[in-house]
Subunit: 430 residues, 2 copies
Amino acid sequence: MRIMRAEQFGLKREVEYGSPEQNEVVRTIVEAVRTEGDAALLKYTEQHDRVKLDAASLRVTQQEIEAAYAKVDAAFLTAIREAAVNIRAFHEKQMRVSWMDLQPDGTLLGQILRPLKRVGVYVPGGKAAYPSSVLMNVIPAQVAGVPEIVMVTPPATGGKEGIDPYILVAAAESGVKEMYRVGGAQAIAALAFGTATIAPVDKICGPGNIYVALAKRAVFGAVDIDSIAGPSEIVVLADDTADASYVAADLLSQAEHDEMSSAILITPSTKLAEAVAAEVERQLATLPREAIARSSVDNYGAALLVDSLKDGIDVVNQLAPEHLEVLTADPMSLLGLIQNAGAIFLGPYSSEPVGDYFAGPNHIIPTNGTARFSSPVNVDDFLKKSSLIYYSKEALMANGDKIITLARHEGLEGHARAIEIRLEKERGIQ
Amino acid sequence: MRIMRAEQFGLKREVEYGSPEQNEVVRTIVEAVRTEGDAALLKYTEQHDRVKLDAASLRVTQQEIEAAYAKVDAAFLTAIREAAVNIRAFHEKQMRVSWMDLQPDGTLLGQILRPLKRVGVYVPGGKAAYPSSVLMNVIPAQVAGVPEIVMVTPPATGGKEGIDPYILVAAAESGVKEMYRVGGAQAIAALAFGTATIAPVDKICGPGNIYVALAKRAVFGAVDIDSIAGPSEIVVLADDTADASYVAADLLSQAEHDEMSSAILITPSTKLAEAVAAEVERQLATLPREAIARSSVDNYGAALLVDSLKDGIDVVNQLAPEHLEVLTADPMSLLGLIQNAGAIFLGPYSSEPVGDYFAGPNHIIPTNGTARFSSPVNVDDFLKKSSLIYYSKEALMANGDKIITLARHEGLEGHARAIEIRLEKERGIQ
């Protein structure tokens, strides 16, 4: 792992918008599903997933879900059930309610919160099919009160038969009652526009490959989408008190995700930087995903030296990492200075996988510097607000002329007259 | 105005993505400003706004703001100050704070809310320069605690000299301290990527023409953007008790916005529908923006007949209008049934301009059916959340094995080892 001064480091990231060819493929698929419905959905499923289905077999049956339960091991089921309890408890604390404010003149103003009606969760096939991500997408929607949550996932991947039973169990455990074996851009289009078999949703979330990401972009507006995740990132801010083996292990836990992942140590301690670099090498040697992790560490990783922890925080705030661990003598004292970080892990026992799997906070977190302005997936993502205005006669009589002044200034005479006609009538009556 | 059964009506709206040529123009401008900074900003300002500036003259001076105050009339200033007080009060009720939850095992979990650091507000030139919209964008950001709010607006429009003084006063009144005379795609690019003169922001909001909208799309990801507004819409749900002249005036107050605006009455009363249609004709005759409003009413407006108010609400929920007025005998009794509407106006005195200008709720509201999943501009739009995890040693020792199980199942051995290395060390120490 490179050791360098923080000033010399430039993290360069690009947003993936896809090639013109990929965009064209997606446009064609989305348009076909939008206009032809199930027929196109089945055609592209056969073409891309090499699975021939009919409309009646798209939906995952209750028997398949029960069969999946028979296949997963007991330790997994225990762990994921407990994780679900924790995730639910954390997200329940995010829940908000409508409010109304009755004013002295009889006017009632308010903000009404309602859940979205129907949400689609995309679960990719293959190695990227993480049961934990199913929980992290479904549970916040459920806590928000979304009555219909539907999962889509490719019918099979590569040589495998059927859908991963762990995914089916994770979905069932988190409360999904409606699942379809469709993936790719065609699944996104079906969720956005609906087909005879799959009713359209209000929002689509969940990760996927480049075609899925481009399809989500293409249907945005017709439905809401979640943010499009970039490669995973971790920054560890540490001082001499940190255990180098912990720091190295945590860096590698992100580096192993993919070659584009970024794992960065920021420290005022050259000694710690050197110890962590040595530990990274030592631990890499026996890591199953060594090649991926090594490429990530070499290309996007570094140990960055700073003059002080406060200078380190400045670098953190510039990077705005997805995950930030603070392994210092007094991590809580630094919390107030951290402006930009999606999830903050404090102290030696808050290893990032604790948050990935179990503690309760969401593991879908803004990447690529977007923690500057966006947030981990949370209950608000599945609620919408409506403003409520019940203006009293007294309020209108008192304020009507001011409203007319503002409307006339903006050249909107129709707006002014909508108020004026009421003032005239009420004054006439009085 | 057409009168028809609700089932016969199809509101067809398309999202405006711009022509390939417009997209290419925007890409060129954005890329030039990103790489060349002020030089490109000034070049395109001269080209598109026909105003030659240098970097030193981009920023609006304190003297200009003072001069603007001298030009606006007193009634306007009074009205906008009072509106600002109401808008601030409403948005302050939306404000939320961070929370932490200390668990029995010593684990601390939480959600930290922080304002974005810097926000850019775009204000279009010309007739679409609405002082009220400045307030509606700036005040929520201010209430959220955004320390830097910067306004950009074209240096002059058409024959006019300089920036509209009403816009400068509205910005100053809502607390903007930093204003630049730049507009168009070049202003959006400057806000997104920064130039020597204009520091980059975290979020860009505010309406603009098609080039501004396309530029916002193009820079999204580097910064956050607000939603891209479509034409304005109003739905009035009314029964026999409604005053046809009020309903007609309110419909026209939206219809006058532009030819694409939509104004729809939904009612079980044929008598009311006919009376409103007659009133619309009568009021149109003397409306200054008659041509616009008539085109809007003819093409996107209608009186829709339904069997009952409840059936009417079903139509409302399908349309998901930006503005909904309920002018019925007991409007409050219908509130619980309204699922999709950006802003809800209840009763005869809650004419929509009350909300556009004065009552307090935001007037920037989801259009084009997106109230199904999105919300009026609000304080949350200027806050970001970070998750906080301070896991205790006790919690890690108790749950570490479950976390390892989940990580290993997902094939992420590095994740498992980050936990395992701690368990082994702590168990060795104990």
